[in-house]
């Protein structure tokens, strides 16, 4: 069998952080007590009507422009019908054949060059409410006795982005998602956190012989972290390969990824395929994004993260550049003085572990700290990083803790230790090198642990050789 290549398309939902919901003016915040952020409109009371959130439309245009999309001269809202308690009208107001944004292109920088991922469309819709299943296992549907519906989240503005099936590996999917997420965050339109559900991703997965026709794809859902997206896609690709290898066929299923088992399994298959019965939403009028809105979006775009990766690459190599940009640390990186690779490394590793918001950091002070990093005990360095986001952070305090590396300071102590341990000195000179460790330990003890062990080691050797 010829080598099969992965064909992956992604469907991403981004929750917009507008102040109010998409079609009513309830506040767009949750985590409050259930059903305290609702109104007759988002509860779908009889006779209620939607009124679109202007900001949500502006931000969708902004996102479309950032994704290189064409902005529709005339877009429509459509009704998409299906039945579920979290969908109070029995239909979702969404977009169908005339979305706000289409035919875009997202450039994903990779080590081997740029990968252009086609964007089929980005459209605006409202989110469903939240259903909690009671009585089942782990809050899942299976075996539940009943469900409780909370409409606080119902009606949140959502942008759905659909890519062409241009992604070629699980890792690429992950990187794409990370860069997309960073882009969305920098646009200021969403917090885009997968764990909190403000960024969601489903994948359409299939395999084919390169250049040949597309084969049947499956839809993969329920992956709520970047890692799970990659793992889920990898698991599904493996499953499909196995099916093909055994001479079988892939059926068009919707599958669930279970991170606990690493397996993909079909969702209960529905007796009736969804017929969404789309038709143009008669309660809303068409949207013709004004030229000024589109131009403003273009003007305010700034330098997108993808482009910044290439700019940084020359300095520090692709991996670090990509890491810094997609984690939102490249701005801090630019401000921190010092060796470029060293700074980049610290930011991606120890600083990342500290969880400090890069925006709060005093770059000068951090630079000083990083420069002295080898002299500072590891624990102290970690503490320092953790504090680097505080207003009055100053490196000096931590530098004072810097291991004493100055020979003139260490020599007197070393002399004393050598004098006090003649037997070990003789032992070392007779060839027992291991004894050096003991002597270093003694110096460390004398200095209360503050001596730089490396420097002590070197200095002792010098003196012992003499």
């Amino acid at each position: 069998m010829a080598e099969l290549e992965p064909v992956i398309g992604l469907e991403i939902h981004v929750q917009l952080k507008t102040r109010t919901k998409m079609f009513c003016r309830c506040e767009n915040i949750w985590g409050d007590d259930g059903n305290t952020r609702t109104c007759p409109i988002c509860l779908a009371h009889p006779g209620t009507l939607p009124v679109p959130n202007k900001k949500a439309i502006e931000w969708t245009v902004k996102l479309g422009v950032a994704l290189g999309c064409e902005i529709a001269p005339r877009a429509l809202f459509h009704r998409k019908h299906y039945w579920y308690p979290d969908l109070p009208k029995g239909y979702q107001i969404s977009q169908y054949d005339v979305p706000l944004c289409s035919a875009g292109r997202f450039v994903l920088p990779t080590e081997e060059g740029d990968r252009a991922i086609g964007i089929v469309r980005a459209h605006l819709e409202e989110d469903a409410a939240k259903t909690v299943h009671v009585g089942g296992v782990g809050g899942r549907i299976a075996g539940a006795e009943h469900s409780l519906v909370d409409f606080n989240r119902g009606g949140t503005p959502l942008v759905e982005i659909v890519t062409e099936p241009d992604v070629r590996s699980p890792e690429e999917a992950r990187r794409f998602l990370q860069l997309l997420r960073q882009t969305v965050v920098e646009l200021g339109i969403s917090d885009a956190e997968m764990e909190k559900g403000s960024l969601r991703c489903d994948a359409n997965v299939s395999l084919r012989e390169p250049g040949a026709e597309f084969r049947t794809k499956t839809e993969l859902k329920n992956m709520n972290s970047f890692k799970f997206v990659a793992d889920g896609i990898a698991a599904e690709l493996a499953r499909q390969r196995a099916v093909y290898e055994s001479g079988g066929e892939i059926t068009q299923d919707t599958l669930h990824y279970d991170p606990a088992t690493g397996r993909v399994a079909p969702l209960r298959s529905k007796e009736y395929a969804d017929d969404y019965r789309y038709f143009p939403e008669p309660d809303l009028v068409p949207v013709e994004p004004p030229q000024e809105m589109i131009e403003a979006a273009r003007r305010e775009l700034g330098e997108l993260p993808g482009a910044r990766i290439r700019l940084l690459e020359a300095e520090i190599g692709f991996e670090l550049a990509s890491g810094l940009v997609t984690s939102g640390r490249d701005d801090l990186y630019a401000r921190v003085p010092g060796d470029r690779r060293v700074v980049a490394n610290v930011l991606m590793n120890q600083f990342a572990a500290s969880g400090v918001d890069p925006a709060n950091v005093n770059a000068e002070e951090l630079g000083k700290l990083i420069e002295a990093r080898e002299a500072i005990p590891r624990a102290a360095f970690a503490d320092a990083l953790a504090a680097s986001g505080n207003g009055e952070f100053s490196a000096d305090r931590y530098l004072a803790e810097a291991a004493i590396s100055d020979a003139s300071e260490l020599d007197p102590v070393i002399e004393r230790v050598l004098e006090a341990n003649e037997a070990q000195v003789a032992s070392f000179k007779a060839g027992k090198e291991g004894v050096l460790g003991y002597l270093v330990g003694q110096v460390m003890r004398e200095t209360g642990g503050k001596a730089n062990p490396k420097v002590v080691n070197e200095r002792l050797r010098e003196k012992l050789r003499a």
């Binding site: 009208k89 029995g90 038709f279």
Partner: protein, 520 residues
Amino acid sequence: MRPIRPTGLSGCRRSAGASDSISTHSARHRRGFSTYAEKRVVAWGAPWGLAVIDTLRLTAEEAAGLLERNEVSGEELTQAYLDAIDERDAELHAYLHVVGEKGKGVPLAHKDLITTKGIPTTAGSKILEGYVPVFDSTVAAHCKEAGLPILGKTNMDEFAMGSSTENSAYGPSHNPWDPTRVPGGSSGGSAAAVAGGLAPWALGSDTGGSIKQPAALCGLVGLRPTYGTVSRYGIVAFASSLDQVGPITKTVRDNARLYEIIAGRDPCDSTTVDLPAPVEIPSAEDLKGIRVGVPRELNEAEGIERGVAEQVQKAIALAEQLGAEVGETTLPRSVDFGLACYYLVAPAEASSNLARYDGVRYGYRTPNNGDLTALYERTRWEGFGAEPKRRILIGTYALSAGYFEAYYGQAQKVRTVIAQEHAAAFESFDLLISPTSPTVAFKLGEKAENPLAMYLSDLLTIPSNMAGLPGLSIPCGLSEGLPVGLQLIGPEFSENLLFRAGHALERAIGFDPVPERLRG
């Protein structure tokens, strides 16, 4: 053409023949505001110090006058209607819920699909039994701001689907002209209330003709406004691109007054616009300079009763006498294809608008236990009546995969054709004229078992509705002792012209809107 003969105050002339009827209404109006009704109030109420208000005869304008001059208090006025309701509503069943608010303005009845905060709103359906809204519709809020106390919520065909109120889950209403007959629908309760003296005026809603047709059948004035001029926020939705709320009144001037109160752009309804010009309360009594078109297809359609046609022809001749330039015109496909177009578009939108009735957040829920799917399926089968279920099924079919283009898609194109044909007619004419309903009020039960026959009631009102155009129905005479309605159709935003023409004709025709059998 027969001349108009003024008569004295002694009462209406009884019609000699089936199609022959002129009343004394015009004589009263000529005397201005010292009206018959007022005289009765003052003269006959005095001994007890109580006002005796003839609710059958009183127009909203007259009532306003009484209140303004403190001849009657708000409480007394409302009480008069409550007394009338006690007396006659058992027979007419116009009301589903009597409220009897007392206030300073002229009390008003609301069709029961108009959301009223704290007051039950059922839309004539069992699936909303017990539903008490926590908000006011914009229209109800406007009426409240204008100081109009709510008399009550009136009966209607369930979810506005019907032409007789026989589809109400709470029993039909009866025509005050002949209680064995229907008052029309779906705003039949509102029409029965006004014609039966149980409300001075009322609001109804019109999707396929549900204001115009009951107004015609009950001898009243009904306006279906230009789509978009009255807010639908809080109006229980049937067909979103067609529904409009409008006034049902005894006179054209009353109608204009009430329209003024409810019309205008609403930020809660994205499909509304401001009126391009303020509402004018009409006073002119001629039709000079108005070009009136008589569309062949609307006036010669199959199914129009002879008596109806005769009364309408007389009214058209009268219009000419009043100075109108009358001419023939054509709407080649609008009437022929209007019903089919409507009975695809409206059910399709309805199937969608009625999807929210699922027993989860309000209204009826099936007592028959099962899983979630069973909850939906049983709640909806048990809670909806036959007509909504019929239309939901038709509408769902029309929108479903594989059928969309041929049904819903095609119907929306027919709609464009209908709009174009009307626009073409309005290039040569200012108004179009026709009967409102092909028949006078039919007997209860006569069409109830035959949906397609019932749908034909809307034959003449539907085409202009599909084009979003306003239509005014005014009574133009009697046929077999029952009212005949005359439909005036205008271009978008031509309500002032409709009122003007309607008022002039009303004065000339002199129809007495008090049902003969109820005249004292």
